[in-house]
């Protein structure tokens, strides 16, 4: 199932244009930016999870030799209003501003309360110790269900619960109660032969990008601010900085650096506005770099949650009704991607009777942000393990029950329009046909350890958004392709490939570059699995526009009607004239003609992506440790532009899913202190924890993209947790419903069995 036959460039595996810089250590990431006269900023963070800030005394810190300036909440402008946050959502800028620097209340351990700029990072760190902050410590709320109780301590006094647009009268930690409904669940459950209802809990986890947040900023005397940022969206940084600094957006330029991973966590700004204010005060460019503990305590994470799921099916395994209750921890400020979690909860299946209640709840933890398919992995962990239990109860094959209930084109989905052409059925079919599924499981592993096999499906709703690009035909026939989409994992290659395909040139003739916000028009973030789809769509249109300009110019030069000119790959001909793009580029140069086009385009991506995963695990009953022994990921990519990069996304998502399933999770004490804010104690998978991951790319072309691209980045993190839990059940008989399924949890459950 490859596209190699249909296309010239698409489906091949060229080396990425930024690759040599990255394997020789020359690529410039956020912390690598060096500017003349550069000073260094550091942040003082709250030691308390919930506290009122009574006073901040910076005099001693300011007096330390080498310190250039100190700021705290009162140095930040008062902010109101909203800004686009990516993935179609909006961000409350007052909350965003308070998150960047606490004004009157610290809402989580690690919340920024002051910052220092000094001539060296060491001096800045020393100065932090000299800042005196007086706190009134308040009781923290760190569990979503406790935060929802009527007498819970309130985090944000102005927060009212929004239920379908109606606001509650009194303050609450529940920011929103969303409801999605279809059909009649009572009738659906009455029709069921089997009904299973289960409860689940989830810890906060972090995106875990290896590059900590880093930026540099220079605020010049003329009011022009330049920000160098490691970010998923340079325009998102510009918008947020303009709002938080209350600065004219036209006087803000964001230069994206290379980005060392993001997974959704590098969309909000944390350091950038602080660096800008410090730069204005110090009158020098300022660089700021977080350490890992700051990253874990103050950025990212994905919501912890409580979920309850109830599903019913008739005796043949057809789902008759499904109900979900999702309470997500937004962290300090609202917005936990609860809506996305609700959309994804039962998304692989065609359901007639559904009700889902979702709650967005603030707690004294870092303000949550997107993490790869935000909201989906935990929601689908619940539904996919319940469905597994139904299949087991009814004695139906686990893939067969997924195939027979599969959603398809035209089916309902929460908050939807109905599905367009989707590929879940094809994924399940490919799983059924896979070598892995057809290889009998050997039930006994090393030293008598028990083995089991699990499967799960997953959905993520891929976004479209706006992309802008500029194309310039160079005199030697190559094309400079300037992009607004930041490149996290090879998008310069996958975008250049689509341009080359559409423009009729080779991949090597295209020179892509990610440029700053002054150079290219508005461009949404690299997120929502949108870049290969949306920026690919934009460069397709750009190529067609450039071809149109070439034809227009040629009509004049050749003195022929434009309609008579035909294009075949890189050759243009009409009426005895014929030339390749390389010859034309020279001809244009000789005649003073420049082919230079720009485009801003918004595709429409309503299709969504599906995946089905199969995993074999081995459980050590003495220690409770679970090892992954075989893994196969099956996914509908629509069309795989660069198959190696599609496989890489699938494998990377699986590895993160394995971490989420087995070892990752924030550990808090009762005071709301994070007890594992290092990479020793926050355990991400190593090369020993992840087996070789087999990949099967299914290609059901997306009808709304010229090459059928769907977007592949996020959905592979959705099935692993559920598939692994189902495999642990298959091995041991245990149904685990709390993540992570760490050795201690598994061992305890085995003891109780």
């Amino acid at each position: 199932m490859t596209t190699e036959t249909k296309y010239r460039v698409i489906g091949t595996r060229p080396v990425r244009p930024d690759g040599v810089d990255k394997v020789t250590g020359r690529a410039i990431y956020g912390a690598d930016v060096v500017l003349p006269r550069m000073a260094h900023g550091k942040v003082l963070r709250s030691p308390h999870a919930h506290a009122r800030i009574l006073s901040v005394d910076t005099t001693q810190a300011e007096a330390l030799a080498g310190v250039l300036a100190v700021i705290c909440g009162r140095d930040m402008p008062a902010v109101s209003g909203m800004a686009a946050a990516g993935e179609g959502g909006d961000m409350n800028m007052r909350y965003a501003s308070n998150n960047v620097m606490a004004h009157d209340k610290a809402l989580y351990e690690g919340h920024a309360v002051a910052a220092v700029v000094a001539t060296s990072p060491h001096i800045a760190k020393e100065a932090l110790k000299l800042i005196k902050v007086e706190y009134e410590v308040l009781p923290p709320v760190i569990d979503v269900r406790k935060a929802m109780e009527p007498n819970a301590p309130i985090l944000l006094e102005d927060l009212r619960t929004d239920t379908g647009g109606v606001k509650s009268e009194t303050a609450s930690n529940i920011a929103a109660h969303l409801i999605a409904e279809e059909g009649d669940i009572e009738k659906g459950f009455a029709d069921a032969a089997v009904v299973v209802e289960r409860e689940f809990t989830f810890q906060t986890v972090h995106q875990g990008y290896i590059e900590p947040h880093a930026c540099a900023a220079e605020w010049r005397a003329d009011g022009q601010i330049t920000v160098w940022a490691s970010t998923q969206g340079s325009f998102a940084v510009r918008q947020q900085c303009a709002a938080i600094l209350q600065h004219p957006i036209g006087q803000l330029k964001v230069i994206p650096t290379e980005i060392g991973g993001g997974f959704g966590g590098k969309i909000p700004v944390y350091l950038e506005p602080i660096a800008a204010v410090l730069s204005r005060k110090a009158q020098r460019p300022v660089r700021m770099v977080m350490d890992r503990t700051e990253v874990l305590m103050a950025t990212g994470p994905t919501p912890g949650a409580y979920i309850k799921v109830k599903m019913g099916a008739d005796k043949n395994g057809n789902i008759t009704a499904a109900q979900g209750y999702l309470a997500y921890e937004a962290g300090a400020y609202p917005d936990s991607f609860i809506g996305a979690g609700m959309t994804c909860l039962f998304a692989p299946y065609n359901l007639k009777n559904v009700r889902i209640d979702g709650f967005d709840v603030v707690v004294n933890k870092p303000s949550s942000t997107a993490y790869r398919a935000p909201g989906a992995p935990i929601a689908e962990f619940a539904s996919e393990t319940v469905l597994d239990e139904i299949a087991e109860t009814l004695g139906i094959d686990r893939l067969a029950i997924r195939a027979q209930n599969s959603a398809k084109e035209g089916d309902w989905r929460p908050f939807g329009p109905p599905y367009t052409r989707i590929g879940h059925q094809e994924c399940v079919a490919a799983a059924q046909a896979s070598a892995h599924w057809n290889t009998p499981l050997v039930r006994e592993g090393k030293d008598g350890k028990k083995r089991g096999r699990g499967v799960a499906s997953g959905y993520w709703g891929n976004w479209d958004g706006i992309s802008s690009c500029i194309g310039r035909l160079n005199p030697n026939g190559t094309v400079s392709l300037l992009e607004g989409s930041t490149d996290i994992g090879g998008s310069r290659a996958s975008i250049a490939m689509q341009f080359a395909e559409a423009f009729g040139v080779t991949y090597e003739q295209v020179h892509p570059a990610v440029v700053d916000t002054d150079t290219v028009d508005y461009n949404d973030v690299t997120g929502g699995s949108r870049t290969t789809f949306g920026t690919g769509y934009a460069v397709y249109k750009l190529a067609k526009k450039m071809q149109g300009e070439i034809v227009g110019q040629l009509a004049g030069l050749w003195d022929v009607p434009a309609e008579s000119i035909t294009i075949d790959g890189s050759s243009y001909s009409s009426n005895g004239h014929s030339a390749t793009i390389t010859q034309l580029a020279k001809l244009f140069e000789e005649n003073g003609i420049h082919i230079n086009a720009s485009i801003t385009a918004k595709g429409s991506n309503l299709s969504g992506a599906f995946a089905t995963h199969i995993v074999d695990v081995e459980v050590d009953e003495e220690t409770g440790k679970v090892d992954i022994v075989r893994y196969t990921a099956i996914q509908d990519a629509g069309t795989a532009i660069h198959p190696s990069y599609v496989e890489g996304q699938m494998q990377g998502g699986v590895a993160q899913g394995i971490g989420w399933a087995l070892s990752e999770g924030y550990v808090y004490d009762s005071e709301g202190h994070l007890k594992n804010a290092t990479l020793l104690d926050y355990r991400m998978p190593t090369s020993l924890d992840v087996p070789p991951i087999e990949t099967i790319i299914v290609e059901v072309p997306n009808p709304t993209h010229p090459y059928g691209v769907r977007g592949v980045g996020e959905v592979p993190i959705v099935p692993p947790c559920a598939a692994i839990a189902n495999a642990i059940h298959d091995a041991t008989g245990l149904r685990l419903r709390d993540l992570p399924m760490s050795p201690s949890r598994v061992w305890e459950a085995l003891e109780k069995q």
């Binding site: 595996r13 080396v15 990425r16 930024d18 690759g19 040599v20 810089d21 990255k22 394997v23 020789t24 250590g25 020359r26 690529a27 410039i28 990431y29 912390a31 690598d32 060096v34 060491h122 995106q207 875990g208 990008y209 290896i210 590059e211 900590p212 290379e258 980005i259 060392g260 991973g261 993001g262 997974f263 770099v289 350490d291 890992r292 996290i488 994992g489 090879g490 190696s644 990069y645 496989e647 890489g648 996304q649 494998q651 990377g652 998502g653 699986v654 590895a655 993160q656 290092t678 990479l679 020793l680 991400m684 190593t686 090369s687 020993l688 992840v690 070789p692 991951i693």
Partner: protein, 164 residues
């Protein structure tokens, strides 16, 4: 011999990527900071600052080290190889070429550490098994790739060198 000068800084001499270098560091500076901020060798990355990610790996006197856990003054008179010393843009070593061809990187921030660590392994053991590779690299975290394509790049390099 360490020379402490009036500013409190220490003069350090070492051979880095084959070139003799002398610079000043504060006693509290890590080797990682010195390489990055004093010598401009920003191929060394800081991922965790406490020895848990391997992004800051270099080879120092034949040993693979996490430079975030080494003080700059400890590098006195040592020989150090960083990622910048492995190959040049027009003269990549096979391992670098294979990371590119096998898509062994996505964001690329872990890549310098993996390249240096793997080079250190292959210098000691030119023909390691898959298990030996995975054990050796357990100190290097990659959050993007799931390690599969990194292993492919390394195995391809081994296959090329052992058949040559």
């Amino acid at each position: 011999m360490a020379v402490q000068i009036a500013s409190g800084k220490v003069a350090i001499s070492a051979t880095i990527n084959g070139e003799p270098q002398t610079w000043l560091s504060e006693p509290r500076e890590t080797l990682l900071e010195a390489l990055r901020d004093r010598l401009g060798l920003t191929g060394c990355k800081e991922g965790c600052s406490n020895g848990n990610c391997g992004a800051c790996n270099v080879v120092m006197d034949g040993r693979l080290v996490n430079t975030c856990c080494v003080l700059a003054v400890e590098a006195q008179e040592s020989e150090i190889t960083t990622v910048e010393g492995l190959g040049t843009p027009d003269g990549l070593i096979p391992l670098q070429k294979n990371f590119l061809e096998e898509a062994g990187l996505q964001c690329g921030v872990c890549t310098p550490g993996f390249l240096v660590a793997t080079k250190a392994l292959l210098d000691k053991n030119p023909n390691p098994t898959d298990d030996e590779i995975r054990w050796w690299l357990a100190g290097n975290l990659c959050r993007c790739t799931g390690y599969d394509k990194i292993l492919n790049a390394i195995k391809k390099t081994i296959a090329e060198t052992t058949t040559e």
